[in-house]
Each structure stands twice: as structure tokens, then as C-alpha cells.
Amino acid sequence: MAQDDYAILVGISRYADENLPELNGPLKDVTLMEKWLLSKTGGGLDPANVTCIVTDEGSHELQPGQDMPPVFQHFLDAFMGIVGEPDKSDYIRRSEGRLYLYFSGHGFSEKYERTAHAALYVANSSRILAWNIYGTYFAQFAKDHALFDEIVLIMDCCRDAELTKTPFTPPLRKPTDIGMTGVARLLELYAAPRGGKAQERAIPSRGNEVHGLLTHAFLKALEHADPDSPDVTCQAIKGYLEENWEAICGKDPADPPEVIIPSNGEIRFKRSGPTDVEQRFKLNRLQNGSSFEIIDSDFDVVARVSINASEAGIERTGGGKSTFPIVDGIFVVPLPSTFCMAVAHTPEGILKRKFLAGGNDVEL
């Protein structure tokens, strides 16, 4: 178990400000992330080290003047509870630890700042009092003072720069000893580019539950990215999200996420092993009795596919045979998440189709 790993997960779905519409994803996002963080083959965190700050969707109407929770102070208390000494005399450094800061809800980006950053509106935010949690600031603070060896910031929220709001930079006291800057590594994932919109939607592969697209995609990346490796690097997550974003969004496009990987080393995420993605093939020129090869990005043949009347027979390189039903000329083959090419020899010549596994249908 990752004893020194901690997480604060914030999900806000209801807001006092009527300009911030209700969301359906944040609480489910937090649940999904928490499940992964507590999983032995995932984050491996001690449940005592995971703090969830979420909207109480069952709460009753507020009294006049009462602040709708969660509020900024809830997060600040949780953060200081993790990084501060109990007597507030100094900070605790966990040189073997990792801090996850996860936010889901409505957010924004400060208008002047050109470096990547975002802030999450808290529930009591209003037109005049735009309370928010400046996620980037807290992640950067933890990094700058090396409070953890690794910091993972995930902000599944909009980075709308048109709202003239300023992220809060609370006057956190600096640690008493300095000189650790540059040691810690920070991975930042933002659901949208600056000025862009994050999206939540029903995800068919998650039982049609509504989730933030970034949260869904991040967890997919942990499963599928870098198929040759037992764990996943930041670089692989970034590449996976960039290449697969269109496929993840499907017919309804969304602003792409922005991923900032550490410049001073890698952060590795555990997993039980890579899993394949599903690739749909649509038969057009190829007929019953024909076959084709699937070649991966290293130009190795990964599978041979034989087309029969009602099923496709798949023979994997290195062993393993399986069949998949063909319905209306369409069948699915599990493949490693990489660029591939289908090569078929037809009477008219060689038919080649390059594709991103798990992406658009491949017509053969």
C-alpha cells in the first residue's frame, strides 16, 4: 500500500449561483476516482488518506444567508490537514509520497495568466463573491516546497477565461526550510485548453453514467495506454489522450484536454496490466473466405483475421485463437492501443487501411 500517498477529491454539482447550472457528473466522478485510488491494482491508497469533499445532493433548502457547501474552507482545511503539522508550526514533507488533487465541477481560468492553470468554483460562489479553489496553486505550492515527491493534479472543469474572475491565492505560510524546489514532479491534467469548455456526458461503457470526459478518459488511459508496458507513464497518458480524444468524444466533439507532464522526470501509475481496445471493422470489399493481417506500429503482425459467413476468426501472433460474430458486416477485434494497419490481398491488389486502434470504423 502507498502509505505516504494522499488524495483530496472535490466534486461540486450544485451551486448557489443560478448562472452555474447543476451538473450530473461530479459526484460520480469522485466515486470513480476514489474507487481507482483505493484499488490495490490502481492507486493503492489507504482509505484514511483519501478525503472526499462533495455536494450533499440530498440536502434541504438553505437558511437565508447560509453558505451552500462545500465551501473553500473545507478544501483548505483538508489540504492543511495533510500538509501541515498538527500544531501548524511547519509543513510535513513526504519524500516518498504522492498527492492527488482531483476536482470536478464548474471552473475557470484566470484571464491574465498564460501558463496552464484552473480554478474550481465552490458551491457558495456567487456573482459578486466568486469563491473558488485554485487547484493549480495548491499543486504548485506542494511541488515548490517538495511536500510530496509526486503531485497529480486533475481538473475536470471548464477553463472559461471570459468570466472575469480571479483564482484565490491564499496566503499560505512558506516552509521554514528551503532548497527543495525542483525535486518534486507535477503532472497536470486539465479538461480543456485555456478558455475551453469541459464536458460531462453519459458514458455507454460505464453503464451510461454521466461523467466528466477527462475523468473517463484518464481512467481509460490508465487501462490502455502504452500497451507494451506493465505500468503507465505521464508521457503515455498525454499521448493517449491526445490521440484518442476524438474517438473518446465520438460524434459529439469536445475541447481537448491539456496535459502538462513533469519536465524533471516521470510519474508512473500502477495497473494490473494493459488491456486492449475494441476496434470495429466493416466489411465492404472483402467477402466470405477472405483474410487480412493486422500490423502494429512497429510493423509487426499482431493478428491474422479470416472472414467466414457469420464470424471472424482471429489468430494472434504468439498464439491464441478466437472468433467474433459478424453482424451486418461488422465485427470487433480487441487490439493494443496504437497505430495499426490492416493489409488484405484481394484480386484487385493489396488493400491497406491505416488506423488508430479503438478509433473510427475500419472499412475493408
Binding site: 463573491l129 466568486a130 496566503p171 505560510r173 485555456r194 500490423i295 494497419m341
Partner: protein
């Protein structure tokens, strides 16, 4: 399998756009601009081309022992307010109109000669055709969408109603104005349908035409007037008398650079950017974008930045605000002396990025200067600097509003009476007007203390005075209670209309600092500088905004709230 490498050339048809080659692990293994050569081992790769907001991708395979080959990429058609060739939002009839307008002598409206400004407001969609068949109210709304522009001097004095002088062709979806101007500083003001005003800087430079291109966004079913997209505008500078050329490659390149700067990423890689900037470029805006893109680098090429800045100074003058901001930033890096003129920066820079370079130094914002006046009034403007126009009558309007409010029950309050008297005395110094006769106590702290403290603060712009004021406001007002009451009494909206964007962001900051002070935490000068940096304004502006905020709070219904809290505490 052979691992011999093959040279692959990826080329964008017009050589304009960022290029990347991505391998099967989704890693970017090569980058370039326009054309990219790479030696690749056998495998499947992706070529990715980006320009503006457009992106093309192409998967390609490198067969074992393949001969060198090329991966051609189509020209990227991105969106632009300028009807340039190779953009997705151009129309020949808009190009023709601009060519005609720039071939003619600029309109003489009695504003002098020696420079000019071109204003192009256009609808790149098909709404101009659709509106023609709609009822008259829809057509009227459509026509209105191109209006609301006027030219003023920096102080807001009207020089020209652009709407009256521009060529309006609603059926073709554009309005154009080519205007002769005396070189100098101007503001282009736009008033939206809901009366929100935005000021944009115009520097009219001798021998140059400043060109402002704005596109109008329309709702799909034209149920409301369109909105000129000021944040996404393009500004160009062209030698006076030069005609608009739809195939101007530098204009297109400048647009790509604008997108890059907007998204804070150097999409043009360093080597290519340096090559482009080393040329004797003729488009000052391209030079400005290029310089700021260079500054995004971790280790900017100082020699090239000097070269670009010199080139810019040669084109548009050393006193052009953005050039001066660059000079200041360059001098600061090796800590060289830089002499800021006594009058500070005479006019705001065009680019927000230029403003960011100087915001830390209050020398650019001397008391009474225009820069000081607008520093607390900035508005979001994409890469451009925008501000809420300075209206000398604003305070008077506020006073009148409060006088009207005096008819309600608030007037019965002694506090209110005092305030109304004070409001009517708007003429003296700001701090004098802040004095109130308020004696209520809260948590043992008196508002008189605050009054005294504010009154004690003199006009020196030093950091400790700003800190004192901030701590005073944060610590001595029970913000949490005040804001709870404001929410419950639904008086929030009345106050918000009078606050600047900066002040809106300061309110919760004050509460937060107040909470921390109550918890025994300190708020130091370092913290103040951090706050200033985040707000992107010089300290004196922060101080003045706080003073002004306090004044507005007193004038608004919030005073009643404070009074009630105090009464409750007493009882």
C-alpha cells in the same frame, strides 16, 4: 526486419503551420514548421499539422528499406476575422470590399492626416443572406450588429461616430471605415446592445495604417442581434497606401502567431520562429507576436529578442507602448538600468502580454496618468488589452442613483443621512470622503479605527501603505457576516453593477485574508506582492481600487447591512 531508417519529408502545401510526427507510442518524435524532415525506422506514424484553430492528420507507414518519400499535407483553413485566402471564414465579396476600400484615399473627417485606421466589421457566416428573408425586426437587429463603434481620444471625448461614417453593407454582411487620422493615441469604443462598453487601444503611427478586423457572431436563428467578437479580433499594421491583399502570407502567419499567443504555446518552433524573425519583417504586429512567443521559451534568445525589438522600434518607434514594454523586460533580465519616462507609459500597449511585462513596475503608472486610470478597469480581451472606458460622469451617476435610493427607508438611518451628505460632497480628495461617523462595534473592533487608519494613509504609493489598507479592510470588517446578510437580503445585484472586475475579485480575497488574520496568520509584504502579481496590476492601483471599493460599499446598500450587524451586536 530491417531497422534501416528512411528519410520522410512532411510538407504543408503552403508551408504554414506547425508540424509534428507521432510514433506508435503516441510520442511526438519530431517537430517543425511548414516542412519537416525526419529519419524514421519502419513503422506506422502520424503526421499532425496545426495552424490557428485548424488541424489535419495523416497516418503513414514507413516500409522496411523504403526510399525517401514525402507526406503531403493540405493547407490548413482556420478561422480569421480577416478574409484571407487559406482561411475557412473568407468570402471573395469581403476581400473585394477591403481591396476597394484600401485603394481609395482614407476618409477625411477632419481628424488630420499622416496615419489612418481601417475598421472592418464583418459576418463570415451566411446570416447576411438569411436575414434578407426575415421580418423587419430581424433585419433591423442584423443591421444593428455592425454598429456601436466610435473613436475617442484617450479621455473618452468623442472624435467620430464610426457608425455614421462607415460604409454599411448589411446584405453583404460587412461594415467598413477607412479613416485618415493625425498620428496619436485613440480609443476605439464599442457599446454593446446591453450598453456594456469596451475600449480598445489604437496607436496611429506616422506612415502606417492600423487595421482592426472584427467578426460578428450571430445566434443560429437570428433571434437577437449579433455580437462583435472583440476578444478574437485581429489587428494589423500596413504601410499607408498599401492595398489589402487577400494572399498576404505575413498576415496569415501573423494570424497563426496570434492563435499561438492566445493559447500560450509556441506553436512555431524556436528554430523556425527565429528564422522568420531574423528576416527584415514588415509587419510590426507579427514582430510583436514573435517577440512575445520567444519570451514564452524557458531560455529566450536574447540576441534575437533585441534584434526584433530594434526592428520594431525602427518600424513604429521606440515610444510605441509595446516596444517600450519589451525594452523594459529585456533590460530587466540582465538587470540593466532602464529609464522610465516621468510620465510613465503614455498609452496602454496593444497586447495584454506587453501589459504583463510592466505591471510590476508602478513607474509606468504615475499618479494621474491614463495608465493609472485604466489599470483597475481592464477587461478580458484575448491577446489584446481592453478596458472599461473611463467615464468622468460615472461617479455622478452613482451619486444620483443613491439620491434616488434615499427615498426608501434607508434614508431614515442616521448612517445613510451621513453618507448621502458625503456623497453629495464628491469633489475633494478621495480619502476625505471616506470619513464616516460610524461608531458601531464588532468583535471589539471599531469602524472608527478603520476610518482613522484610512485617513492616515497618505498618498505615497509604497507597499507598506497598501498592505496596511488591505489588512485594515480585511481584518476590521466582518466580511463573512456582511456577505451572508447581503445574500439573504438580495441586495447583491445593486452593488455588483458599480464594481469593477478587479473589485469583484477583491471582495472574496478580503474575506479570505480576514479569516486568516482572525486565525492568527500573518499577511506579509511577500503575500501582498503575490496578490498583486495575481491581479496583474501595480500596487498603487491595488490600493486605489481598495479605497474606491470601500467608498462604493459605503454608498451601496451594504452600509445598511453593516449597520444592522452593528445594531445586533449592540443589542
Amino acid at each position: 526486419m530491417s531497422n534501416s531508417k528512411t528519410t520522410v519529408t512532411v510538407r504543408i502545401d503552403d508551408r504554414q503551420g506547425e508540424l509534428e510526427i507521432v510514433d506508435g507510442s503516441f510520442r511526438v518524435i519530431n517537430r517543425g514548421y511548414g516542412m519537416l524532415k525526419a529519419d524514421l525506422k519502419p513503422g506506422i506514424y502520424k503526421a499532425r499539422a496545426r495552424a490557428g484553430n485548424a488541424q489535419n492528420e495523416e497516418l503513414f507507414e514507413v516500409e522496411p528499406n523504403a526510399h525517401p518519400f514525402e507526406v503531403p499535407m493540405d493547407t490548413l483553413f482556420f478561422e480569421s476575422p480577416i478574409p484571407l485566402n487559406g482561411t475557412s471564414t473568407t468570402h471573395e465579396y469581403h476581400q473585394d470590399a477591403l481591396m476597394t476600400a484600401t485603394k481609395e484615399a482614407p476618409h477625411d473627417a477632419g481628424l488630420g492626416t499622416g496615419a489612418s485606421v481601417l475598421l472592418s466589421v464583418r459576418d463570415p457566416s451566411d446570416a447576411s443572406f438569411r436575414q434578407a428573408g426575415e421580418p423587419s425586426n430581424v433585419q433591423d437587429d442584423y443591421r444593428l450588429s455592425f454598429k456601436g463603434f466610435r473613436l475617442t481620444d484617450p479621455n473618452g471625448h468623442l472624435l467620430l461616430d464610426c457608425d455614421a461614417k462607415a460604409l454599411h453593407k448589411p446584405d453583404a454582411g460587412f461594415a467598413l471605415l477607412n479613416l485618415a487620422l493625425q498620428p496619436g493615441r485613440y480609443a476605439l469604443i464599442h457599446r454593446s446592445a446591453n450598453n456594456t462598453e469596451t475600449a480598445m487601444p489604437i496607436m496611429a503611427v506616422p506612415g502606417w495604417q492600423t487595421q482592426v478586423f472584427i467578426h460578428v457572431d450571430f445566434p443560429n436563428d437570428l433571434e437577437a442581434p449579433g455580437i462583435p467578437n472583440l476578444e478574437n479580433r485581429s489587428v494589423m499594421m500596413a504601410p499607408l497606401g498599401e492595398h489589402f491583399q487577400a494572399d498576404d502570407q505575413y498576415f496569415r502567419l501573423t494570424e497563426i502567431a496570434r492563435y499561438a499567443l492566445r493559447h500560450g504555446r509556441a506553436t512555431i518552433n524556436r528554430q523556425e520562429l527565429e528564422l522568420l524573425l531574423q528576416e527584415k519583417f514588415q509587419n510590426p504586429i507579427y514582430g510583436l507576436f514573435g517577440a512575445h512567443l520567444l519570451m514564452l521559451e524557458d531560455d529566450p534568445n536574447r540576441y534575437l529578442l533585441d534584434h526584433v525589438t530594434d526592428n520594431l522600434a525602427g518600424l513604429i518607434g521606440d515610444h510605441f507602448p509595446d516596444v517600450m514594454a519589451l525594452r523594459y523586460a529585456l533590460a530587466k533580465r540582465p538587470n540593466e538600468p532602464f529609464e522610465i519616462p516621468a510620465e510613465g507609459l503614455s498609452f496602454p500597449p496593444l497586447l495584454q502580454a506587453s501589459w504583463n511585462l510592466i505591471a510590476e513596475n508602478e513607474g509606468f503608472y504615475p499618479k494621474g496618468s491614463f495608465m493609472r486610470e485604466i489599470a483597475g478597469l481592464l477587461k478580458f480581451g484575448g491577446v489584446w488589452l481592453n478596458w472599461q472606458p473611463v467615464r468622468k460622469t460615472a461617479l455622478i451617476a452613482l451619486e444620483e442613483a443613491d439620491m434616488r435610493a434615499a427615498n426608501d427607508t434607508l434614508v431614515k438611518s442616521a448612517l445613510r443621512r451621513t453618507m448621502v451628505q458625503k456623497i453629495s460632497a464628491f469633489a475633494g480628495t478621495m480619502l476625505d470622503k471616506l470619513k464616516i461617523t460610524y461608531t458601531a462595534k464588532h468583535d471589539g473592533r471599531t469602524f472608527e479605527d478603520l476610518e482613522d487608519m484610512i485617513a492616515d494613509i497618505n498618498d505615497e504609493d509604497d507597499a507598506s501603505r497598501s498592505l496596511e489598507l488591505l489588512i485594515g479592510l480585511a481584518g476590521k470588517i466582518p466580511w463573512e457576516a456582511v456577505f451572508r446578510r447581503i445574500k439573504s437580503e438580495a441586495v447583491e445585484a445593486g452593488l455588483i453593477n458599480h464594481l469593477t472586475d478587479l473589485q469583484k475579485s477583491l471582495l472574496p480575497t478580503l474575506q479570505l485574508i480576514g479569516n486568516q488574520l482572525s486565525a492568527g496568520e500573518k499577511f506579509s509584504l511577500d503575500d501582498l506582492q503575490q496578490l498583486r502579481k495575481g491581479l496583474n496590476i501595480p500596487l498603487p492601483v491595488l490600493r486605489e481600487s481598495l479605497e474606491d471599493l470601500w467608498k462604493k460599499l459605503l454608498q451601496s446598500s451594504i452600509a445598511k447591512v453593516i449597520e444592522k450587524i452593528a445594531d445586533e451586536d449592540k443589542s
